[in-house]
Symmetry: C2
Subunit: 497 residues, 2 copies
């Protein structure tokens, strides 16, 4: 019997997945260990892989197979979702000419390298010409997609990270949060004033010891080092492939707390990748959902679990032991205050749970304006600093603590930022559903037993892959649609009680 | 004006080179830092890249372009050589069906993983079924090439590592060396007996310190860490790309001498890659020649330069300083005796310059017999041990120090071994020509000044890329064809004087 159109499509996407996996490992390498002089050559290598993938994906045969497979009546729900996802990818790909894809990839690769220097030197003008090029090519891509899918330019970008999300739906939520936050922040800071002062454990904390401790907690959470690594990069991320999940962090020998929580955050991402359905590996339906669910998993582990008092009851003795710590700074209560400390700060990745949405809202507004050509790139630093003043009441002293701090725009990831805060809301909602469903989850955390939690997440979230859109999965897993009030409740409970 | 057929071919091979470069980085990753559980997935990724490359190389259009370019009269000598090399690659590729290429790549990847365990456990039977598969697929590939190019099966394999080399020419050289060596070895060991006993510097020697020292010498030799790395792997190698040369070593905290010399050896390979002609990057003519010239460069640095008394005059104070060494074990004379120590040993990569050819001759004979089906794989361990007795007068206690020690056969590299000893002869001949041509080369070595040497090598060897075959380049650079008597002279001078 000859292969069906659907099976041929699966084969084609299996080959595409292999190319993507190769690219993910090269990207990890570029961000962690590649020597600087190799950046241009690496850019060409990655661009060639992307061009090849694009050629295979956008080929006429792919379209023909999709059309033929759509007629097949013998597909099960996973296969039908897979076909829908394939169609979606093909539609996106066919609106973009190959030379645009290649040009964008090269521009991002060059820009990323220069950004590393510009950020170190707090020199926005150094990176600006490269960013102009990236932005112009991103806008060109967005225009093609927007016309085809009848979306705004910004939504055409957003949709690639968070399928189905629209700025018209995000705007009111972020407007509301943006208005609620400054007042709530004042309340939180006042409540914090009334508590005992936070004592910082005193270092130095050797990198090797920090790493060992991170590895211990990763293992406790279920991370299997036969299928992944922990390394160092300037901007922490979770990369690699589901069979080789590579998370990164950056260490500060004067303060272990940030890297440790960063590792736990990325472990949340990693556990999602590791829990994806093995039966649908290398098929679009077997991949993780959009960024809000991915960030939802990392924030669930970091914010809902690891910054909770229960987790710190388990973790504090291990932390003390690792660093030979003793005294009040190392007590659970102090560590809990430390790990739920709120302050007005400049750096998003160092921000606490309360101020974080302000960082996101600012970026969301600015990137929308830049993409829609309602603002000049040259005006970005000033606009950034202005909005920081409005939302958090502080002004960056230079662009390193302002608009140069994040890799995203300089690496072409426009439309990505809102997913962080959508993820924070998702995390709160999923965690509440999980703990409501199984009391062993909350009971296990202070014991360092995360099997009940990870079991529930694997069954209800991870193993579902991309069988249904994020909004539908959230509804199935938690019983109702995304409800930002759960997030606000969580913040009130943690920070005002 | 439309592109010429030759220019279109160049474009096609540029894209192929990018895929090969991506593959080299993935291969480096597999051998150094990849988690074990990812091996199967990585095998598929690399196989897919190879299949894609093979498809592009073997396409009908490639053949048509070669035919059309052959008619072009406007090609300069570099372009003409490039076209010849392209034609050679295409011919080799078109005799192999894609499914055979994929099957071989997968088999090698699986076999390599099992070999790591089998070697650790000294369990040849554990790897044997995988090796049977690899050998059978290698033989199938060799048969196709041999028929097309009118070569013996073994020469079809040898020719891919050392273009133009034939076993009929190697046989008499190796027979002669194999007969000369046991007697010469006796003389060397007797002479060594008459010298003061070698004192081993006492450790432990921390890995980090060994690494720092290796890095210092690499930099002195001209290795630029903006374009390369030094890492750890089970079997040391030089990988990566000319813009990102990645060498590896393995450390023993009880003995720094082996890893240090290993690093210097791989640096010789690396300097060749770094010195290749920038103008012909990503064209076949711009790549390094076959393995004898490559090993010639690494052995020139290791054996001709770094184990010489002159180099050790420069190196000894730095080594003492790094490890806080003092006393007779750290004196130049002792280090020179140590680094020219000869002994009958089982492990090729630990072998000295005198016994090394015996290890190669043994492997050459056995792999020829296995490829030509004149020996069963099951009989390999016994045959290995037998020949070790003939050539070096010793018998391995187990297969870890016998036929399991090297990765080559288990990773599909059959026909590779003879190039090591061809390389040793090349190194001796090139070094003599270089030092004859420029007295500053020998004078610089005890001063730690390798610029004259590297300048001569870059101009006369590295920058020539693959403009002409190794035998012709050797003749142009040294004034005459490969002369094994120069190698014997070098051995006599170093070990009997």
């Amino acid at each position: 019997m000859s292969q069906s159109a659907y099976t041929k499509l699966e084969d084609r996407f299996h080959r595409l997945a292999l190319l993507h996996e190769a690219g993910h490992i090269l990207d990890w390498d570029s961000a962690t260990i590649m020597p600087n002089g190799a950046a241009a050559a690496r850019g060409e290598q990655v661009a060639e892989l992307k061009a090849l993938s694009h050629g295979i994906l956008a080929a006429t045969e792919t379209g023909d197979l999709i059309e033929a497979a759509t007629e097949q009546v013998d597909l099960n729900p996973w296969q039908r979702s897979n076909l829908d996802l394939i169609r979606r990818q093909w539609t996106r790909a066919t609106v973009l000419p190959e030379d645009l894809v290649v040009a964008l990839s090269k521009a991002c690769s060059e820009s990323e390298t220069v950004w590393r220097e510009a950020r170190a030197e707090a020199d926005f003008e150094k990176i600006r010409p490269y960013t102009e090029t990236v932005l112009s090519l991103v806008r060109e891509s967005a225009t093609a997609v927007a016309e085809k899918l009848d979306l705004s330019l910004y939504d055409a970008l957003l949709d690639q990270f968070e399928p189905g999300a629209r700025s018209a739906e995000i705007d009111p939520v972020f407007d509301d949060l943006g208005k609620w936050l400054p007042g709530f922040l004042n309340e939180v800071l006042a409540a914090q004033e009334r508590r005992p002062a936070i004592e910082m454990p005193q270092g130095p904390f050797p990198v090797a010891t920090q790493r060992e401790l991170g590895v211990k907690f990763m293992a406790a959470l279920g991370f299997d080092f036969d299928y992944g690594r922990l390394d160092i990069s300037l901007h922490p991320f979770c990369g690699g492939t589901p069979d080789d999940v590579r998370i990164t962090t950056r260490y500060d020998e004067a303060d272990f707390t940030s890297a440790l929580m960063g590792v736990l955050h990325e472990t949340g991402h990693a556990m999602y990748e590791r829990g994806l359905p093995q039966d649908y590996r290398r098929k679009p339906v077997g991949l993780a959902l959009g960024m809000s669910m991915h960030e939802g998993q990392s924030l669930l582990v970091e914010m809902q679990v690891c910054r909770s008092r229960g987790f710190l009851e388990y973790a504090a003795p291990l932390v003390r032991q690792a660093f030979n710590g003793s005294g009040p700074a190392w007590e659970v209560d102090n560590l809990h205050r430390l790990y739920s400390k709120v302050e007005r700060g400049f750096i998003r990745v160092d921000a606490d749970e309360v101020t974080y949405p302000a960082h996101v809202i600012l970026r969301y507004e600015l990137e929308k304006a830049l993409i829609h050509d309602e603002m000049r790139l040259a005006d970005l630093p000033e606009a950034w600093n202005q909005r920081m003043g409005d939302l958090l009441g502080i002004t960056p002293a230079n662009d390193r603590e302002g608009c140069l701090q994040d890799i995203h725009w300089y690496d072409g990831a426009w439309g990505y930022f809102p997913t962080y805060t959508l993820g924070a809301m998702t995390a709160a909602q999923v965690f509440r559903a999980a703990t409501d469903a199984d009391p062993a989850i909350s009971a296990g955390i202070p014991q360092g037993d995360f099997k009940p939690l990870m079991g529930w997440l694997r069954e209800n979230i991870h193993a579902k892959g991309s069988l249904m859109p994020a909004s539908q999965l959230l509804t199935e897993a938690t019983g109702h649609a995304l409800d930002p009030e759960i997030f606000k409740d969580h913040l009130r409970q943690r920070y005002l009680n």
